[in-house]
C-alpha cells in the first residue's frame, strides 16, 4: 500500500492503494466515480477511457502510479457547468441504447475534438475504433461528433 495523491476533475484526492492498481479501480472503487466503466480489463474496448493531461487513455491498463501529479478527467468532470456541446450532441442524436460504453465513447470523442475540432469521417473512424459498442451505435456516434464539431467542439 502507498499513499498517492491524484488530481481528479480538478480536485486533489488522496488514496491508499497498491501502486500497481489500475487507475480504473481507484476511480471506481476508491473514489466512487463509477461513470468510468469496466469492459475488458485489457485496453481492448475503451469503456474505461479517461483523460490524462488531456489525452484519452485506457484507465484499466494505466497504473495509478503512472498518473500521480497528472491531471485526470473522468466523465463526471468533463463539463463543469451543465452539459458540454458534445454531451448535448449525444442527447440530440439519441446515441445511447444500453449506454454502458458511452462514457468511454464520449471521453474518446472529447479528446479527438480537443485536438481536431473539425474531424473528417476518416479521422473520426480512426479515433473511435478503439471503443466497442455492442448495441451498434456507431452511426449515431459519428453524427453526434459532427454535430458537436459544428457547434464548437468539446468546450
Amino acid at each position: 500500500m502507498a499513499e498517492i495523491t491524484l488530481r481528479v476533475n480538478g480536485n486533489e484526492r488522496k488514496v491508499s492503494v497498491t501502486p500497481q492498481t489500475p487507475l480504473l479501480w481507484v476511480l471506481r472503487d476508491t473514489l466512487e466515480l463509477s461513470g468510468t466503466k469496466f469492459g475488458c480489463g485489457a485496453g481492448l474496448c475503451g469503456a474505461c477511457t479517461v483523460h490524462v493531461d488531456g489525452a484519452a487513455v485506457r484507465s484499466c491498463s494505466t497504473l495509478v502510479s503512472q498518473v500521480t501529479g497528472k491531471s485526470i478527467t473522468t466523465i463526471e468532470g468533463l463539463s463543469t457547468k451543465g452539459l458540454n456541446p458534445l454531451q448535448q450532441a449525444w442527447i440530440a442524436e439519441e446515441v445511447p441504447q444500453c449506454g454502458y460504453c458511452q462514457s468511454g465513447q464520449i471521453m474518446a470523442a472529447a479528446a479527438l475534438l480537443a485536438k481536431n475540432p473539425h474531424p473528417s469521417d476518416e479521422e473520426i473512424t480512426q479515433a473511435m475504433s478503439g471503443n466497442i459498442c455492442r448495441c451498434g451505435t456507431y452511426d449515431r456516434i459519428r453524427r453526434a461528433i459532427h454535430r458537436a464539431s459544428n457547434a464548437g467542439g468539446a468546450r
Partner: protein, 702 residues
C-alpha cells in the same frame, strides 16, 4: 399478442391520500393463457403533485422499455409526456412472469397499458364532471388536464386524483383510434438518454453498499469440472484480501476490499481441478456428431405435400454455424447482502424472479426472504436470462456474512457463459423445368436450449425451435425437420435465438436456388410469396412488402458503384417481418460492408427512434455474429477470452444502416430480435454475387 380479458384486467386500488392507483396485468409470452385469476403486475399511479408513475416489471437493457412502455399508457391517458416517469419493479411474488425477453415487452404490454391509461382517463373525466356538476360529455381530457368545453374551466390530473380514486374503475374503457395518436408513433426522446451521456446512469456494476466487499471467483476452466483442492496461502497475502473459500462445487471465491485486490488474490490462488467428463471435448468433435446426426430423420416441424416424391433437378447443400457468446458490454455482476433470515440482491438481470428463487434455494432461504432489485443493464442480448451472477453473490455474501459485489471479468464471461448452440443444416430442393423450386427440405440439427434447461418438450421437440423455424414461403412440397441433439456445452438464448441459425441456412439456400434456376433472388422470393395466404400464423402478404421496401430503398437491380454487390434476405420471427439488403465490396478477399438497408413490419410503431435504434443495433450485432463470432472448445475449455479473439464489429467496420418500416395500425410485434436473422444470409448472398463463392459456414472470416 393475446388480448387481455376483463378478468385479467383492472384490479383497482384506492390509496388513501396517495392519489389514483390502478393495477393491471402485463402478460409475458410464457404466461399468456395461464392462470384464471387476476394478478396485477404493473401499476399506474397519479399523485396530487400531478406526477404519473408507471411501475413496470421489465428490465431496461438498451431496448428502450423505460420510454416505450409509458408512451403507450400516456397516449390513452391523454397525459402531458413531461408528467410521466417509470419506476423499476424488483422481483415480486405479486406479479406474473417478469422476464424480459422474446422481443415481448411492447407486444405483451400494448393492451393492458392502453386499457389502464384509458380507465384512468375516464375516471378523471368523471371526477371533473362531478366536481363541476356538469355532464361527462361536456368534459374532455387533454394534456394532463380535464377541460370543461362549455366554460373552459380546467383541472389538472393531480387536482382530480383524490376524487377519481373513489370512483369505480371502468372495465371496458374506450380506446383511442390510431389517427388520433399524439404520443404513440412520435420520436419521443428517450427518458434515459441524459443520464447515459453524463455518466450518472447506474448499472449493476455501479451499485454499492456501505462496507461492501468485492469478490471474483475462480471457476473450473473445464465445463462441468469441480474443485479438487486449493491452496490459498499466497492469495491471502495479497493486500486487501479478506476471505478465500469454496463456493458450490466448482468455484473458489476471493473476497477483498477492492475489485483489484480480489483479482490479484485470484491470480495468486492455486486450484487443483477435477476436470470431470468433458476434459477431452472439442468443437470439431461436436460438429462431427451434428453432421452424423443429420442422417437421422427428425421431428416434423412443418410439412406440405411430399418432398420425397418430387421429380426434377435436385439441389443440395449443407450449412453450419458455431457456438457464439452474447458478450454484453457490462460484464456479469451482482451485489448481495445476506443477513441470516433475509437476503437482498441488486442485479442487472432479465429474470429477477429466477434470481430470487435460485438464490433462495442456494442459500437455504424461502423465496419471500429474498428481495431482488433490478438495476439498469449494460446490454443483455439474452445473457442475463441466466441467474448465475445473482446466485453467486448470494452465496458469497452468506459465506462472509456481509454485503459483497461479485464481479465477472471479461474472460470469466467469455469462458463461463451460456452459448448460442452450434448447428448443422441439411438442405435439399427440386427445381422444375422453368427453374422454379417445387420442393424444399430443411433438416435442422441442433442441440436444444430449452430441453437442456429442463423445460418440457412439446411433441417430442423444443417448441421454441418450431416457433423460430418459421416458414413463410409457399411451396407445393415442404419439409422442415428438427433433429434434436444434446451437448454438455451450456446453452443460452442469444438475441433472435434459433431464428439466426434457421435463417442463415434457409435464406442462403434460397439464394442458391435462385442462382441454379437463373432467377433474381428478389424475384424468386416474391414468386414464392405470391399467394396471399396464412402459413402457420404468418401472413405471406406482409413479407413481400418488406422485401420490396428494402429493395427499393437499396436500389436493388440498379447499377452500383464499381465493385459493389447486393445481397438480400428476409425472415419472419417474433411475429414481425423483416428484410435486409446488404451492399458490399471485396477488399483483399474480405467483405467490406458499406450499407445495410433494413425494412420491418412490426405493426404499430410506438417510437420510430427506438425502432431505428433496434434495427441499427440488431444489424451491427448480427454483423459481428456473421463475420467473426465463434466460440470454440478445446480440451473442454473455451478457447476465446476477450475482445481480441472474440472481436465485435468496431466503427471501422460498421456500415451505414438505414431503417425503414411499413406504416401500420396492426398490433405491435417484436422489434429487438427480428433485425438479426436476415443479416448473415444477406451478407453471404452479397459475397456470392461478388465472388461466385458460397459461404456455407459461419463465421465468414473463419
Amino acid at each position: 399478442m393475446n388480448p387481455v380479458s376483463r378478468r385479467e384486467f383492472i384490479g383497482a386500488g384506492v390509496a388513501a391520500g396517495a392519489g389514483l392507483v390502478i393495477g393491471f396485468y402485463l402478460p409475458h409470452r410464457s404466461s399468456v393463457g395461464g392462470g384464471d385469476f387476476f394478478v396485477p403486475n404493473a401499476y399506474l399511479k397519479i399523485t396530487p403533485d400531478n406526477k404519473v408513475t408507471v411501475v413496470v416489471a421489465r428490465s431496461e437493457m438498451g431496448q428502450g422499455v423505460r420510454t416505450a412502455l409509458p408512451m403507450i399508457l400516456a397516449e390513452e391517458l391523454e397525459a402531458d409526456w413531461k408528467q410521466i416517469s417509470i419506476e423499476q419493479a424488483g422481483a415480486s411474488t405479486l406479479y406474473g412472469d417478469q422476464s424480459t425477453g422474446g422481443s415481448a415487452s411492447v407486444r405483451s404490454t400494448w393492451d393492458p397499458m392502453r386499457k389502464a391509461g384509458a380507465a384512468a382517463r375516464e375516471m378523471l373525466i368523471s371526477a371533473a364532471a362531478l366536481k363541476w356538476g356538469v355532464g361527462r360529455a361536456s368534459c374532455k381530457a387533454e394534456n394532463g388536464t380535464v377541460v370543461h368545453l362549455g366554460s373552459n374551466r380546467r383541472l389538472t390530473y393531480g387536482q382530480l386524483v383524490g376524487s377519481a380514486a373513489t370512483l369505480p374503475i371502468p372495465t371496458d374503457p374506450p380506446l383511442k383510434q390510431a389517427k388520433d395518436y399524439k404520443i404513440v408513433g412520435i420520436r419521443v426522446a428517450r427518458i434515459d438518454t441524459p443520464s447515459k451521456a453524463n455518466g450518472t446512469a447506474e448499472y449493476g456494476i455501479d451499485f454499492r453498499l456501505p462496507d461492501m466487499k468485492y469478490a471474483v471467483l475462480a471457476r473450473c476452466p473445464v465445463i462441468g469440472g469441480k474443485v479438487a483442492s486449493f491452496e490459498d496461502r499466497e492469495s491471502k497475502q495479497v493486500p486487501g484480501v479478506s476471505y478465500v473459500g469454496k463456493i458450490g462445487d466448482s468455484a473458489v471465491a476471493i473476497v477483498a476490499d477492492s475489485t483489484w485486490s480480489a483479482i490479484e488474490g485470484r491470480r495468486a490462488l492455486s486450484v487443483t481441478w477435477d476436470e470431470g467428463p468433458n476434459k477431452d471435448l472439442s468443437s470439431a468433435v461436436i460438429m462431427e456428431s451434428l453432421k452424423q446426426s443429420a442422417s437421422k430423420k427428425g421431428a416434423t416441424l412443418y410439412s406440405v405435400g411430399d418432398v420425397s416424391k418430387v421429380v426434377g433437378r435436385r439441389i443440395q447443400a449443407a450449412y453450419e454455424l458455431p457456438f457464439m457468446a452474447h458478450a454484453p458490454m457490462e460484464p456479469g455482476n451482482s451485489t448481495a447482502y445476506y443477513q441470516g433470515s433475509k437476503c437482498e440482491i441488486w442485479s442487472p438481470t432479465q429474470v429477477p424472479q429466477d434470481v430470487r428463487d435460485s438464490a433462495a434455494q442456494a442459500i437455504g432461504l424461502d423465496p419471500d426472504q429474498v428481495k431482488v432489485n433490478v438495476t439498469l443493464l449494460g446490454g443483455g442480448f439474452g445473457r442475463r436470462l441466466e441467474h448465475d451472477y445473482g446466485v453467486e453473490a448470494a452465496l458469497v455474501s452468506k459465506a462472509i456474512s456481509g454485503p459483497v459485489k461479485v464481479l465477472w471479468t471479461r474472460e470469466d464471461d467469455m469462458r463461463n457463459s451460456t452459448y448460442r448452440p452450434a448447428s448443422y443444416h441439411q438442405m435439399s430442393a427440386v427445381l422444375d423445368a422453368q427453374g422454379w423450386p417445387i420442393a424444399f427440405s430443411h433438416r435442422i440439427v441442433m442441440p436444444s436450449i430449452n430441453i437442456q434447461k429442463g423445460f418440457p418438450a412439446e411433441g417430442g421437440v423444443d417448441a421454441e425451435v418450431k416457433e423460430e423455424a418459421s416458414f413463410v414461403y409457399s411451396f407445393p412440397n415442404i419439409s422442415v425437420e428438427y433433429v434434436m441433439t444434446e451437448t454438455p456445452i451450456p446453452l443460452g438464448w442469444m438475441r433472435s435465438v434459433n431464428a439466426l441459425q434457421v435463417a442463415f441456412a434457409s435464406e442462403s439456400f434460397l439464394d442458391e436456388l435462385a442462382v441454379a434456376g437463373a432467377k433474381d433472388p428478389l424475384e424468386l422470393r416474391l414468386h414464392l410469396l405470391s399467394k396471399n395466404e396464412d402459413i402457420q400464423g404468418w401472413h405471406t402478404a406482409r413479407m413481400p412488402a418488406v422485401l420490396r421496401l428494402a429493395a427499393v430503398k437499396a436500389g436493388w437491380g440498379k447499377p452500383l458503384p464499381p465493385g459493389h454487390y447486393h445481397g438480400i434476405a428476409g425472415f419472419a420471427c417474433f411475429n414481425s417481418y423483416m428484410a435486409e439488403v446488404v451492399e458490399i465490396s471485396m477488399q483483399n478477399d474480405r467483405p467490406r460492408v458499406h450499407r445495410v438497408i433494413g425494412a420491418i413490419d412490426c405493426g404499430q410503431v410506438i417510437n420510430p427512434n427506438i425502432l431505428e435504434q433496434q434495427i441499427q443495433g440488431g444489424v451491427i450485432y448480427a454483423l459481428t455474429n456473421a463475420l467473426r463470432a465463434k466460440i470454440t472448445f478445446d480440451k473442454g475449455r473455451v478457447v476465446q477470452g476477450n475482445f481480441d479473439d472474440y472481436e465485435p464489429v468496431r466503427m471501422s467496420e460498421a456500415p451505414v444502416v438505414e431503417a425503414y418500416f411499413i406504416p401500420s395500425t396492426e398490433v405491435p410485434t417484436g422489434a429487438g430480435e427480428p433485425p438479426v436473422p436476415p443479416l448473415a444470409p444477406a451478407l453471404c448472398n452479397a459475397i456470392f454475387a461478388a465472388t461466385k463463392k458460397r459461404v456455407r459456414a459461419l463465421p465468414v472470416l473463419g
